[in-house]
C-alpha cells in the first residue's frame, strides 16, 4: 500500500486526527502568544506540541508495514510520550503562576532523568525490533529491550505526580484558580474517559482496535478545556475569537484539501497552501490581538481619565462654592469697615482732625479695593465657568450711562477733576444686561478717575460711522498707556508695572469688561498716544433699530 492509497482509504481517519491535532497546536500557540513570558503558557504550548507529535506518531505506528519505519516511529512515539508526560506534569506543577523558581532537585534531578529516559527511548535499549504484523499489515508484536522498565517507571511516576498536583491544586486552591483547575479537571476526566473507552475497553473487551489511532482526538478535550481556563479572560473578546475561528476554519479546509488531493504535486501544492494559511493566520491573529490589546489599554486609560475628570470637576465645584462662600463672608465685614471709616471721614461722628480724616479715607479706600477684588474674582469665576448669565433687554442707553456717570460726579469732584457726560444719540436703544453693562461703564469711569491726577474725565455716547453701533467713550487727561501695553490691556492679570506701584488693583477689571462686552456682541478698545497723554476707552454695542 503506497502513500496515495493510504490517503484515499484512511482519509476520514486522518482528517479527524488532523483536525484534532491542528486544533490542539492552534490552542497551544494562541496560549503561548497570549503571554510568551509566562511559564504556565510556555509549558502548555510545549505540552500541546509534544502531545501533537506523540498523537501523530501513535497514528503512524499502525500505518506502515515496514520494519524499519515502524520501529523508528515506535521509538519516536515513546520519546515524545515521556516528554508529553513531563510537560503535563509541569503544567500542573506551575499552573497558574506566570513564573516559578524551580528547586535544585527539579532542575538537576528530574529534568535530566526525563531527558535521559526520552533519549534512551530512541535507542534499541527500549524497542529492539518489530517481531510481527497482523493480517491487516498492522504491527502486533515488538521485541522489548532492557530499558523499557525505566520508561514505564518514569512515565508512571510522572503521571502519578501529575495526579497528585492536580488534586492538590483542586482542593487547596481557592477563588479564580480553583475555578480554573476545576475546568481543567473536567477536561482531564473527559479525555481520560475517552481514552479508557476507546483505547482500553473497546480493544480489550470488544476486540475493536479501530479507534486506538485516534489518540489526538481523545486528548483534545483536555487541551481545549485547559486553554479555555488559562485564557478565560482574554478569550472573551469577540473580535479575537472571530479571527481565530476564521483562521482555524481556513486551516481545516486547506488541510482537508491536502488529505483528499491526489498526486504528489497536488499534495505538495496544497500542503504549501496549508502552511501559508497557518503562517498568515498566525500573523492575522497576532495583529488582531495586538489591536484589541491596545484598544483595551486605551479603554482602561479612558476610564481612568474620565474618573479623574469627574474628581476634578467635583473639586472644582467645591472650590467654586468655597470661593463664593468665602467672598461673601469677606464682603460683609468689609462693608462694615468701609461704613465706619466713611462715618468718621464724612464727620457723621463729629469733627475730627485732618490726620484722622485722611486715615479714615485710606481705610475706606482699602476696603473698597478689597471689595472690588472680591467682586472681580467672583465675576472671573463666573466667566471662566461659563456661568455668567446675561438677561439682555432693550435699554435707552443714554439714560443708563447718564445715571452711571451721575454716581461718579462726587468722586471726580473730590479729586478736583472736571467731569462731564454728553450724548448725541437721544432715545437710541441697545439690547444689554443692565447690571453687567453698568459694571462695564462703572469700571471704565472708575479707572479713568483713578489714573487721572488733574484735568478732566469725559464720558460720551455716540453712534459710530456705520450707524450700527452705540459707542460709549470714556476719555481722560490722565496718565495714559504706554504703546507696548495697549495690546495686553484686556488680558487676564496684566497691569502696567510702573503704575502698579502707585495704584493698586487686581488687573482683572478690564478682562472682565472685555468678556461682558463681547457677550453683548460688542467690542471694547482703547486709544492712547502714550504715557502722560491721557487715554480713551471705547465700548461699542449693537444699536437696536
Amino acid at each position: 500500500m503506497n502513500i496515495l492509497e493510504l490517503f484515499r482509504f484512511q482519509n476520514i481517519d486522518l482528517l479527524t486526527v488532523g483536525v484534532a491535532l491542528a486544533a490542539s497546536l492552534f490552542l497551544g500557540g494562541i496560549t503561548y502568544f497570549n503571554d510568551r513570558r509566562s511559564i504556565t503558557h510556555q509549558t502548555f504550548f510545549l505540552f500541546s506540541i509534544f502531545s501533537a507529535c506523540w498523537s501523530t506518531l501513535n497514528y503512524l505506528t499502525y500505518q506502515f508495514p515496514s520494519d524499519f519505519v515502524v520501529i523508528w516511529v515506535l521509538r519516536l512515539s515513546v520519546f515524545f510520550a515521556v516528554l508529553h508526560s513531563f510537560a503535563l506534569f509541569q503544567l500542573f506543577y506551575v499552573f497558574p503562576k506566570p513564573s516559578v523558581q524551580f528547586s535544585k532537585l527539579y532542575r538537576f534531578g528530574l529534568v535530566p532523568l526525563v531527558l535521559f529516559t526520552a533519549i534512551l527511548n530512541l535507542t534499541p535499549f527500549v524497542f529492539r525490533r518489530v517481531l510481527e504484523f497482523d493480517s491487516e499489515g498492522k504491527v502486533s508484536k515488538v521485541l522489548n529491550g532492557p530499558g523499557l522498565p525505566l520508561f514505564a517507571v518514569v512515565t508512571a511516576g510522572l503521571t502519578l505526580l501529575t495526579i497528585i498536583f492536580l488534586l492538590r491544586k483542586l482542593f487547596r486552591s481557592s477563588g479564580e484558580t480553583r475555578r480554573q483547575v476545576r475546568v481543567m479537571f473536567f477536561g482531564v476526566i473527559l479525555s481520560f474517559v475517552l481514552i479508557l473507552l476507546f483505547n482500553l475497553v473497546l480493544p480489550a473487551f470488544y476486540n475493536d482496535a479501530r479507534f486506538i489511532s485516534l489518540g489526538a482526538v481523545f486528548t483534545f478535550p483536555f487541551i481545549a478545556f485547559t486553554a479555555y481556563s488559562i485564557l478565560k479572560h482574554h478569550m472573551l473578546n469577540v473580535k479575537i475569537i472571530a479571527a481565530e475561528a476564521l483562521v482555524f476554519t481556513l486551516s481545516i479546509v486547506t488541510f482537508a484539501e491536502v488529505v483528499v488531493s491526489k498526486g504528489v504535486p497536488g499534495i505538495l501544492f496544497r500542503s504549501g497552501v496549508f502552511l501559508l494559511v497557518l503562517a498568515f493566520g498566525a500573523l492575522l491573529i497576532r495583529s488582531v490581538r495586538r489591536e484589541v490589546e491596545q484598544r483595551e489599554k486605551l479603554e482602561v486609560l479612558t476610564r481612568e481619565l474620565s474618573a479623574a475628570n469627574e474628581r476634578l470637576r467635583e473639586l472644582d465645584k467645591v472650590k467654586s462654592e468655597f470661593l463664593s462662600f468665602a467672598s461673601h463672608q469677606v464682603k460683609s465685614p468689609m462693608s462694615v469697615v468701609k461704613g465706619y471709616a466713611t462715618l468718621i471721614y464724612d464727620g457723621t461722628y463729629g469733627p475730627v482732625s485732618e490726620k484722622i480724616r485722611g486715615t479714615a479715607d485710606k481705610i475706606r479706600e482699602s476696603a473698597d479695593r478689597m471689595i472690588a477684588l472680591v467682586n472681580n474674582l467672583l465675576s472671573l469665576r463666573r466667566i471662566e465657568e461659563g456661568k455668567m448669565d446675561y438677561a439682555p433687554e432693550p435699554v435707552v442707553l443714554q439714560e443708563l450711562v447718564s445715571s452711571i456717570a451721575d454716581e461718579f460726579n462726587m468722586l471726580a469732584e473730590e479729586k478736583g477733576l472736571q467731569f462731564s457726560f454728553s450724548s448725541s444719540v437721544g432715545e437710541a436703544r441697545a439690547s444689554v444686561d443692565t447690571q453687567k453693562f453698568r459694571q462695564v461703564i462703572q469700571n471704565l469711569i472708575d479707572n479713568s478717575i483713578k489714573y487721572t491726577e488733574r484735568g478732566w474725565v469725559k464720558v460720551s455716547l455716540d453712534v459710530d460711522k456705520s450707524k450700527k453701533f452705540l459707542v460709549v467713550s470714556v476719555a481722560d487727561s490722565g496718565r495714559g498707556i504706554p504703546k507696548e501695553l495697549l495690546p495686553k490691556l484686556f488680558q487676564q492679570f496684566s497691569r502696567d508695572s510702573s503704575v502698579a506701584k502707585m495704584i493698586q488693583g487686581t488687573g482683572l477689571g478690564l478682562y472682565i469688561v472685555r468678556q461682558i462686552v463681547e457677550a453683548h456682541q460688542g467690542r471694547v478698545w482703547v486709544e492712547s498716544l502714550g504715557e502722560g497723554q491721557g487715554s480713551i476707552f471705547y465700548v461699542a454695542v449693537p444699536m437696536l433699530v
Binding site: 461704613g339 464724612d346 457723621t348 438677561a391 459694571q439
Partner: protein, 135 residues
Amino acid sequence: MERKKFVILIADDNQDFLDILIAKLTREKFDVHTVTDGREAIEMAKELRPDLLILDLEMPVMGGMEAFFELRKDSRFSKLKVVFITTHGDDSEKTAWVDDKFAREEGIRDFIRKTDDLDSIVKQILRILRVPAGA
C-alpha cells in the same frame, strides 16, 4: 426747603451695619427704626407705617423676602416701598430677580449693596422715596 422727614424701617441682623445706617441716615434727617429679623419687621411695620422698608435678604427667624410677601398680604401695605440689602454683588443670581418686571410691579424698588458708598446709598433712598408709589 426742609423736606419731609421720611420714616425708614431697617431689618438686618448685622448690628454693626445697622449702627452705620442709623448714624448716616439720622444725620441725613431720616427717622430711622431698626429690627433684627423679618418677623419683628412685620410687627414694627404694622405699628410704624414707614415710608420705606429696608430688608436684609438673609436673617434669622424670617428672611427679607418672606417678610415682604407676608406684608403684601395686608392691603394696607400694597403700596409700601421696599428695598433689599445684600452683600452679594451685581453678578449674583440672588439679586437678579430685583430687575424683574414682576419684582418692580410688586413694589420692590431696588436693592442696596452693603458695600456701596454710604452717600450713594442715601441718594438711592432719596430717589426711591421721591418717586410716587405705584408708578
